[in-house]
Every structure is written in structure tokens, then in C-alpha cells.
């Protein structure tokens, strides 16, 4: 039996709003479903080293103070939280609120001998994504380095087309460039984690696994040949538990969250 060396929860797309009653066109408020996810993570029976949020923490906040409100909500999480910007976030306000110790909206940190790289694929006032040249150069310096640590990379947008027109129109536009750089670290790259699509999809390309997690709010579904956005039949939010084991393997568990506890 190979022992876990690191275990964390991957959550995404909370779309928290300064108005706790905000639910858009959905059946539930993003506040209530995200609180249910937080409770589920806090009740997880194995120790978690941290929680990774792959963007859309907020839902187009109009003022920096809105992130303070959201931060207070997320403080209910027992493990430490790491976030990165999504297309519905304001990357400067997000960074100043959640990770002011960094000077850029993209950053890297180490936990238990694992290197985590959090990218910023957001573009101000746009829904599609891009990793800009300066950030790509920073990422490349990490990927070609002789650092032997296991590596996990996270970003908001899906890096490759899903075959679904509407969703693909808001994907990462330079996913192929990102992939070529990541290949340089393939020997130590454990997986790439993303959000944005509100659907559980795994993509495998050249031995690299790209895995999304569900939204903590509502779910979508895509299919090959799809034109418009479509909501999933099941609204249920969820998250993933990612575990790295001493033998170099990765395990991902999909955890569903029961909404019947929500009034």
C-alpha cells in the first residue's frame, strides 16, 4: 500500500455574489450550494493539506470590498485555501484579497515536497482565456528547471476544445502553447487541474491528464456537435479529492454534495 504524501480538495466556479440571495437563473443560490460544499470538505474523513479553487470565486464583483465579503464566507473552510482568477473574477482585487504576498496574479508554492503552479488565464472583461507571453516564459522557466519535485499545474479555462461550440468559444485560446511547455516537465507533472466548464471532464493528451471539477454552484453539460450552452440534468455540486502517493501515483476521487440539507 502506497502512503499518501499530499491530499487536497479541488473546487471551482463558486460565483459568489455580494447579495447572498443571488441565484441568477438557477434553482439554488451560489451561497447556499458553496456553503454545502465547504461543510462537506470540512467533514472529509481523511486529512486535507489545502483546498485549491480554480477560479470564478466571485460573480463579476463591482468593488474590491465584495471580495472581502466572500473571503469571510470561505474562511469557514478548515484547510488553507489557494485561489486563482477565472473569467468572472477581477484578478487584481482577487490577488489583493486572497494572496497579497504575491506580486502577480499567477504564482507558485510548495507543500509537503510538491510544487503547485497556479496560472492566471483570465482576460479583463472577456470570457475566453489566454496565458500571456510573460507568464508563459515564467512557466517555461519552471518546466525546464532541474527541480525534481512532483508538479501540479492549475488554471481556470479548459485548454482544449470540447467539440461544443458555445463552450469552446470561451476556452483558453493558446492551449497548444501551454501544452508544449508543460511537456517539458512531463517527467514530474502529475496532472493539470481546471474549472470553468461546470462539468467533470478529463482530457488526456501525450500522457498528460487535464481534469476539471464541478462547480460549487450549478452544472452544465457539453457534447460533441453541441451549439449552445446546456444545463446538466443534475444540479448537484461536487468537488474532487486529489491524492499523491509515495509511489509517484495520483488518485482522484469525485465527491458529490447532497443539496437536500439546504433549505
Amino acid at each position: 500500500m502506497s502512503e499518501p504524501i499530499l491530499s487536497f480538495a479541488h473546487i471551482s466556479d463558486s460565483h459568489l455574489h455580494e447579495n447572498p440571495q443571488f441565484k441568477g437563473k438557477r434553482d439554488w443560490t451560489s451561497r447556499a450550494t458553496t456553503e454545502a460544499v465547504i461543510q462537506s470538505i470540512n467533514a472529509h474523513l481523511a486529512p486535507l493539506d489545502f483546498v485549491l479553487h480554480t477560479g470564478d470565486v466571485g460573480n463579476d464583483p463591482l468593488r474590491k470590498e465584495h471580495y472581502h465579503t466572500l473571503q469571510k464566507l470561505i474562511v469557514g473552510l478548515t484547510p488553507p485555501l489557494h485561489v486563482l482568477p477565472g473569467n468572472h473574477d477581477h484578478r487584481i482585487w482577487l490577488r489583493e484579497t486572497f494572496y497579497p504576498q504575491y506580486t502577480t496574479p499567477y504564482y507558485s508554492f510548495e507543500v509537503k515536497g510538491v510544487q503547485m503552479v497556479c496560472l492566471d488565464s483570465s482576460l479583463p472583461y472577456r470570457h475566453d482565456g489566454l496565458i500571456e507571453d510573460e507568464q508563459l516564459a515564467w512557466l517555461e522557466s519552471i518546466c525546464v528547471s532541474d527541480n525534481p519535485l512532483p508538479l501540479i499545474v492549475a488554471l481556470h479555462h479548459h485548454p482544449f476544445a470540447l467539440g461544443a461550440e458555445a463552450m469552446d468559444s470561451i476556452r483558453l485560446v493558446n492551449g497548444d502553447s501551454l501544452h508544449r511547455i508543460l511537456l517539458k516537465a512531463r517527467h514530474r507533472l502529475k496532472c493539470v487541474l481546471f474549472g470553468h466548464i461546470h462539468e467533470r471532464v478529463m482530457m488526456m493528451r501525450d500522457g498528460i491528464v487535464y481534469a476539471s471539477t464541478l462547480s460549487t454552484w450549478y452544472q452544465s453539460r457539453t457534447w460533441h456537435g453541441q451549439a449552445e450552452f446546456a444545463k446538466a440534468d443534475v444540479h448537484q455540486p461536487g468537488y474532487s479529492i486529489i491524492t499523491l502517493t509515495a509511489d509517484g501515483g495520483v488518485m482522484m476521487r469525485a465527491v458529490p454534495v447532497n443539496l437536500t440539507a439546504i433549505r
Binding site: V209, M251, N258
Partner: protein, 224 residues
């Protein structure tokens, strides 16, 4: 089955990774299963699980194969269906004869995209009740699969009643949830099986694209 039949895009086939039946009394009961599963619009491929009787399953669902393990091709993709079942035991094993057969496939010069299917988990997941019934020689199977890494798109399994993925040496192993009830496991778990009351049945849509990509979409189904 209704959900799969209602999918908006074409599905080439349905793959069932075992425990088609639940400790059935005879081959006639497998014929009844087949009648139920005939409601599926796409063709169905099955493999034995620990709750199946592999000879009856084979005779009913794939009598053209002389062995409970087999391989087929669809749209230029090779799908290898393993038999990890051991009669009257919950755990799994891949027989020597089957390992040799698999090795021949994995060491061949074929460049066709390859998908491997099996029932049991090859590696322990940190849950004692579940890990008491892994594939005993899972590491040997993994080493053979590595020989085909260049064309191996993924390995699909079941058994756990939980959505769980392994990534090992660039190979993606992933489950589908049960079409019935779900369990939950965690590292350091003790005691017996734990039901996951929040989890719904579901399935995966596995798509290979012309550029060599693999996509796996998780679909949940609300029985209500």
C-alpha cells in the same frame, strides 16, 4: 439506459465493466439480464465482475469468444476486455494465459488506439475493505500495459461503486460509478463499506478524437 438512449450525439457502443448480474442462480437469469439490457440502443460489450459467473455471462453475451476475455475493434480503435474474476471470490486476478495474451497485444507493432477494460481496481486505494479485493497481480498487469503506452488511451474499470481515477506512469485508469448504488472511500478508512447517500448513479462518455485526444465526460443520472 434511458439517459444513454437520449444522448444527443451518436454513441458507437456501450461498455459494461462487470457485475452485470448479482450472484445469479443460473444461465437463464443472464438471459433475463440480456432482455433488460436490450433496451440500450447502441451495441453492448460486457466483461465479468466478481458477482458474475463468467461462463454463463460469456455464453449469453459473447458466445463467439472461446474465452471470457476478448478484444474487438470499432472505428479503428482496439478495445481489450479483460476477465479479472475468480470463481466464488470477491477479489481479482489476471491468469497467466491471459497475461501472455495481453502481453502479445501490448508488445505488438500495432499503432491503433487502444482502450483496456477490466472490472477490479489494479492498485490499492487506501480503503481496507475495498483493498481486500484488488487484482492480486495488478502491478504485473500495469507493467504489461506500459509496453503499449504510446497507443494506450485509457484503462476503464468498475467494482468500486465510486468515481475514482488513478494516474500511473502516464496511464489513466478511471472508473464509472455503479448504475445502482454508490460507496465512498478515503485514505485511512477503517471498518466496513460506507454508502455514499449523496451520490447518484451515472456513467461516462468516452470520446477519442482524430487528433489523438481522449475526453471522458462524467454524466450523473437522477433516478427520480
Amino acid at each position: 439506459m434511458k439517459h444513454i438512449n437520449a444522448q444527443a450525439f451518436p454513441i458507437d457502443f456501450v461498455l459494461h465493466t462487470g457485475d452485470v448480474g448479482d450472484d445469479l442462480a443460473g444461465i437463464e437469469q443472464y438471459r433475463e439480464c440480456q432482455t433488460v439490457l436490450k433496451a440500450l440502443r447502441p451495441p453492448l460489450y460486457v466483461i465479468p465482475g466478481n458477482h458474475d459467473q463468467r461462463d454463463w455471462l460469456r455464453e449469453v453475451f459473447y458466445p463467439h469468444s472461446p474465452t471470457p476475455y476478448y478484444s474487438f475493434e470499432h472505428n479503428g480503435v482496439q478495445v481489450v476486455c479483460l476477465d479479472t474474476s475468480i470463481p466464488n471470490q470477491p477479489g481479482g486476478d489476471v491468469s497467466e494465459a491471459q497475461l501472455a495474451w495481453l502481453d502479445e497485444i501490448c508488445a505488438s507493432a500495432s499503432e491503433k488506439p487502444l482502450i483496456v477494460a477490466l472490472h477490479h481496481h489494479l492498485f490499492p486505494i487506501g480503503s481496507p475493505p475495498m483493498d481486500a479485493m484488488t487484482v492480486k497481480n495488478g502491478e504485473a498487469v500495469h507493467q504489461i500495459l506500459l509496453k503499449a503506452r504510446a497507443r494506450l488511451k485509457c484503462a476503464l474499470f468498475g467494482h468500486l461503486h465510486e468515481r475514482l481515477t488513478f494516474i500511473r506512469d502516464g496511464v489513466l485508469y478511471t472508473t464509472a460509478p455503479s448504475t445502482w448504488f454508490q460507496l465512498k472511500t478515503w485514505h485511512g478508512q477503517t471498518g466496513t463499506f460506507v454508502m455514499d447517500e449523496a451520490a447518484l448513479p451515472g456513467y461516462n462518455i468516452v470520446t477519442l478524437t482524430a487528433d489523438g485526444f481522449l475526453n471522458i465526460r462524467a454524466v450523473s443520472v437522477n433516478p427520480a
